[in-house]
Amino acid sequence: MDLNKADHVVSKMKEEFTLSFLVNGQKHELPVQASARLVDILREKVHLTGTKVSCGIGRCGACSVLLDGQLVNACLVMAYQVNGKSVLTIEGLGTDGNRNIQEAFLHEGGFQCGYCTSGMIMAVKALVDAVPNPTEEDIKEALSGNLCRCTGYGGIIRAVQRLANGNA
């Protein structure tokens, strides 16, 4: 079903429907529950486990992905909300050869256990896409929804600053 072509009769998505969307550029058609969480679909049906779940309620950012280029929490997005859209996960980042963000994280100690890292990197991606030379305030705002328990954010901040200085 294509959401954008709903006709006069009000469309409905039954408990189950065929979700059609792009993940990292690849088309997927999957039978899912309309209210299923995007993060579960990615992890369990598309078998991409780079996107993590930690709080399940939008409060930590471990599940951050880009949806049509916008940062979202995959634990808050429901299947029907991604129909016809395009999702970028950590696995799809850098497949074009541009691994600047990842390199910066590697060199500046932007992670330790790595569990927040996929989401954190996606949030950084959303930031530098919008503001290539972020200020301290920009960094604080853009990453405010992504918790990291290990690094104390020092390495993450240095990684973003390294990107801004263009020596990733």
Partner: protein
């Protein structure tokens, strides 16, 4: 202990995707209490997580064109910034018309949740949830909202909508209107959200205010509003009256202080008392008004 994941009722919900306001209202009428509107769904999911019942029917507003977009309109001789209820908070923060015409809204939204949530959450949902952090700001901006139900559609000030206790569950909030002519009158605004951490947290208290000084140096158009978190948002009408015809130099701040403490009735939770919230609201309001006369370094 139940969580959303465990809430099997969600899995069996049907999601309706009307494309017009009329269709949405018809669906709501058809299913009544067994249905609810859903925009971004961020607040609803929190409520479900906390054990609220998931209705059998979810009426997604996502595809209703009429509820999208931001534009400047004329209403009689007033300029009005009209914001579709489906505009995400991120759009409200970054849209050029908002940053040009109503910077305050953009500032306010910046303090709500975090970017990922703001990309999904809508301004309509924030207001309709009745405790959203934008509400105090809307109150001091004299904002209006457009509401539609099966029989009528009308415009109402946010303040009177909040005060109306009658059940408006079935009303669809379609637009938010912010008058923008006022700015020419030299209005000053402030907005502060205080939370238990610097960002990305529920409000302990949210306060907003507006005021101007007339030619006589008297305070004019003083509007003060409080809310945030579980506090019911409202105007501090009695306190506002204390400023009528006063100059900043003649205001008795102690009186303002005790008036706010009396008028604001916030909640208490496991972490902070109502008393504390009152004081914080009062201190912020007073400091902001004082800043107006004696601006210091911020």
């Amino acid at each position: 202990m139940t969580t959303k994941k465990e809430n099997s009722s969600l899995a069996s919900s049907v999601i309706w995707t009307p494309t017009t306001i009329q269709e949405a209202l018809a669906k709501k009428k058809e299913f009544g209490a067994d249905a609810c509107f859903i925009s971004g769904g961020t607040l609803l999911q929190l409520q479900w997580e906390n054990g609220n019942k998931v209705p059998k029917n979810l009426i997604s507003l996502q595809l209703i064109q009429k509820m999208q977009g931001i534009e400047v309109e004329r209403d009689h001789d007033c300029k009005v910034l009209s914001i579709g209820a489906l505009s995400t908070l991120a759009t409200c923060q970054n849209h050029s018309l908002v940053t040009m015409e109503r910077k305050l809204l953009s500032e306010v939204v910046k303090h709500i949740a975090a970017p990922a949530v703001r990309n999904q959450a809508t301004i309509g949902g924030n207001i309709a949830g009745r405790s959203g952090d934008v509400i105090p700001a809307l109150l001091v901006m004299d904002a209006e909202i457009s509401l539609c139900n099966k029989v009528s559609s009308l415009k109402k000030s946010v303040w009177s909508w909040l005060k109306d206790k009658e059940d408006q569950q079935d009303d669809l909030l379609t637009q938010v209107h912010l008058p923008i002519n006022e700015q020419e009158r030299n209005m000053h605004y402030f907005y502060k959200k205080i939370g238990r951490r610097e960002a990305f947290t529920a409000a302990i208290v949210t306060v907003a205010g507006s005021m101007s000084l007339n030619e006589l140096g008297e305070l004019d158009h003083v509007r003060l509003a409080v809310g945030g978190g579980d506090n019911l948002p409202h105007r501090l009408k009695a306190t506002e009256r204390l400023f009528k015809g006063e100059k900043l130099s003649t205001v008795t701040w102690k009186e303002v202080y005790s008036s706010i403490l009396k008028e604001f009735l916030p909640t208490t939770d496991a972490f902070l008392s109502a008393d504390y919230r009152k004081k914080v609201a009062a201190h912020i309001i007073i400091s902001e008004l004082q800043e107006l006369v004696f601006p210091s370094l911020k």
